[in-house]
Amino acid sequence: MKINFHHPAPEKTPRIWRSLRELENDPEFEKHLHTEFPRGADVYQDSGLSKRDFIKLMGASIALAGVGLTGCRRPESYLVPFTKGVEFTIPGKFLYYATSMPARFGAIPLVATTSDGRPTKLEGNPLHPFSNGGTDTFAQAETLNLYDPHRSKQITENGKPSSREAFDAYVASVAQSDGSNLAILTEPSSSPTRARFRAALQTKFPKLVWAEYDPLAPTAANAANEASFGSSVRLVPQFSRADVILAIDSDFLNPIETGIGYAQGFSARRNPEQKGASMNRLYAVENHYTVTGGMADHRLRCKISETGEFARQLGLALAAATNNAALAEVANAFPASQTSIDPAWIKECAADLAKNAGSSIVLAGPMTPAPVQVLVNAINNALGNIGSTLLPVKADLVPAASIEDLAAAIDKGNVKTLFLMGVNPVYNAPANLGFKELLSKVPDTVHLGFFEDETGTASRWHVPAAHFLESWGDCRTFDGTYTSVQPMILPLWNGVSEIEVLNILSGATAPEGPSLVRETFNAIAPQATAESWNAFLRDGFLPESAFQQIQPTFNAATASGLAKKGAPAKADALELVFLQSSSVDDGRYANNSWLLETPDFVTKVTWDNVLMVSPATAVRLGIKTNNFGLLGDVAEKMGNDVNYDLIGDIVELSDGKSTIEAAAIVAPGHADDSLSIALGYGRKGVSALMDGVGFDAYPLRSSNSMRFLDGVTIKVTDRNYPIAQTQEHRSMEGRDLVREGSLERYAKDNAFAQTMGMDSHIPPNISLYTHPELNAKDQWGMTVDLNTCTGCNACVVACQAENNVPVVGKDQVRKNRDMAWIRLDRYFAGDSSDPEMLSHAIMCQHCENAPCETVCPVNATVHSEDGLNLMAYNRCIGTRYCANNCPWKVRRFNYFDYNQRPIDELYWGPLAKKGMADSLKMSKNPNVTVRMRGVMEKCTFCIQRIEEAKISRLVEAGPTPASDTPIAPFKVACQQACPNDSIVFGNIADPKSQVSRMRKDPRGYVMFKYLNVSPRVTYLARIRNPNPKMPGADLVGMANGSGHHGDAHGEHADQGHVDSHSDHHTEPAAH
């Protein structure tokens, strides 16, 4: 029986870039289009990719054109082959290219996964010398940035659509001029090609003002290094050689602050079992909890305004201990102030550093004021760390004008033409400059940006910027390794890269993609050949191109000159500290919903920034961050820690001139009389997604208060603000979830973690029946080393990118419906004013006797022979029983059609717009099902990667025995993203695999052992290395107690079940 169908021919030009509604010529949609893209909307319809060659890369993809053909029984779809074959491209197979992401601290070396011409996933480049293959959250989220449907798509002039030709003509006309009134404001960059253009332009236009600005740039660190060691000196830390590390206001373990590769070697030294070296010790001095503070063995809560005084006292102590006159000079130059810092802390810390002189590192944060940084340099110098643990290198920093210099030039009327490239000063320039007004004094402004943002709308020209995945470029990593940036896709929306603009500005006629970079490469590479160029692109970097190591001398005179400028801490004043946001950086990721929904490391707040305040200060100021009502108050009186469903008080902060509003949250471990707020939020009028998200702190930030503002006044209003937190409870409640102990305890009994809490006295699990054998050759398992996991979120975003995890929006997060497959639980243990912080990566544990499987009525979740807890979405009917029965609560239910409906129309039912933006469809991993509403989902151990690996093995084996061919090594997404290699995945049936070795580690334990569910995820207990002489050393590593309960929250916990077990804790060996 054959049935003939005569489908109408498909449209001649498949309009990939339109949604289905548009195909139907829905007037609603047309209207929506116009409101969403107020400028140039009419042009947008022509500027879709159909015009571009890119469509040819969409080979073998399926253009569904079933709309309106309801008469057919079977909706027809088309197979669209290439017209001409494309080199390397095999439909349905991934291609991997090395590239890198330019970043504030240099670059993140990457390997981009492209699927049928679309980059869908970014991974770290494991070959790169200054990277171990890890990535950070921002790099993981860049694929979404690339496909962001809100990106600007149209060149505009005075708000009206213009064309690339007109813009090029304009730039060419500027290039023809003498450039006497020309200024360029751009971000600091490590790109040698850009430096080349800059040099060329400055030669061409001698009066050119080249200014660089980035709100979070390490300007202070550069200034301090210059004062200490001379110009363009950079210190590259060698954590593998450091026994003691002191971080002052520095979150160096957080890759978004310091970059991938910076903290390399640290995690290896955390292993208590390492051969030939002792475990390192980390001291942290900070005002709010950072991931570094969470990892620290000793943490001092300290106002940022008092870190200078801390460094001064430490410097004096160390100057005495090391007899270093230079340090004494610098420390004495720093103005003293009264603080309440515990002198014992400084004394013992100094003693430990002095004892480990030459094998210690003292670090300050990139934004820490320069006088403090210079003091830190002096301390390192006195300890003999320079050259041993801190390698000085000669970087290629070329001083540029600051934004203040530019502002002064504009004010004087010296600037008539201003190119703003990749910057958004109208939003984020220091408030004292009044940049928006300044900009109106410049007749010709050109804005090159990702969005038609605050600066874009205020400029004459706005030009869409090309994403780094769309453009040619280069950069240097922190150590100077020359690293390539190559495009994965043609610009989706006619984006232009910065070097292309500079190229035209320098007088060249047409941009010549790779040749611009090739020219720089030829200059840098010792013997530049076609082969070395190809190797550069293939590997992503130029070998041995790091900066030269030098041996600078410490210049005590200039250093103390800078140290003199240090600001003494104001007594009894409130300080406001400006933080880099873990989600939006300085605001540039404000439209990235993956990042907005990624919880902050510490507060676990999504979709907002909040003002963090210590518990004691909150009480003093009358800030209440839990307004759960009368019923909650009673529960609180009964001993509950009612910190759920957060509704924070809105407070008004003022420096006397400007006032901002922010919602406050009580942050355990925060320094008293100090307030912290992340930058980059509170943007309005740029895109629908950004509106109403968080609070803008820039109005209080000025040129002399880039890190903190001392002396701020606060007023608590009677208004409330709902805050969306992914984790509502902060205490472990005395449960043995995250297990930790001190190095001393570990030395006594290295398997102490296996007999903690309930595990100390549960009887052996005896089964009534024999479990069915899991008989596959490969048995998958995972270990998570809690000793090196910092909680940096890279795995969370990597999982989201790899597994098409949907974003649900603030309202849904508040309703506890976030969809993350891997979450980082953060617990505070101990007194809430100064607790210990623990991070716990939780994903599906793939229990061999999974409780979720037995309760599913339709067999939608069953076990595979290789030990995976499978989830068949197409079988799931959504009873949610499995999630209820999961002890880890890792199963996530699609309460709405998060993929198909806009997050602000979830409740509209069928009236909501249906369908995903076409560009977002391109960002999806084609190997993972996009889940519909009403189904359960969860971590699958990246089954798509497992299956691909198994299939590749069989393809390779062909007609030979399968077992003769091994499975090629592969990593799961979270493992691959982890900058500290804390997550290890592999075959536990192979005794030689890394995961097998890790599982046998005496620190290894499985959670909820008494349930006998046999999880496939093993956690390696956290080991702390306290200095026994330090104040509070007896509390370090005691989160689960050792005869003592560090987790003191909740009376019932103390009086009830926990204490009854405490005897077991003290003598685990008795069992």
Partner: protein
Amino acid sequence: MANFFPKWTNWLPLKVVICAGAIVTFLVAGISYYFTPKYTRVGYEPTQPVPFSHVIHVQQLGMDCRYCHSFVEVASHSNIPTTQTCMACHTQIKADSPKLAAVRESWKTGEPVNWVRIHKLPDYTYFNHAVHVNRGVSCYSCHGAVNEMKVVYQHETQSMSWCLDCHRAPENHLRPPSEIYNMAWHPPADTTQRQIGLKFKEEWEVNPPVTCGGCHR
């Protein structure tokens, strides 16, 4: 007064039961047949933009499947040939045939030919061609005798239970590696498909997945 209900109503319940039984049987049978892929998919033979005949190309000219479906051995997807592939021959042979107008048009404009898709698994099902053809499963097993199809149509149901039939008993389909693309292959006279299949299954350790994760991710 007489009975309210006439006498014939006494037989009514029995008749109702019999009719209801018949209707239910008919409905169940009808639904289970007409809602299965066997009816809705098998035999689907849409008109293609180019009247390409596998009979001419495979049967008469003896071309190998892999000449056009060139990546079937390496990729999950068995690619449809590019216009370039068609034009490799058809610039010389039948260069002016009106049947090939669409191909020439595509070659000229660069717009690809839109072939109507026949075999379509749901989005949540991940089928991999490479692993099947490399491990002894012929094109024939899933696509039927394409070499005899003037116009391609769907030959097998390709439903989940159909997949499982083979995954549970691959011996019914395994072939010598040299015969994968031979649509007309039959087991040699002195043996049966099953014997051959069992031999290969054991030799190559063919153990196809039958749990969800094999196909659903």
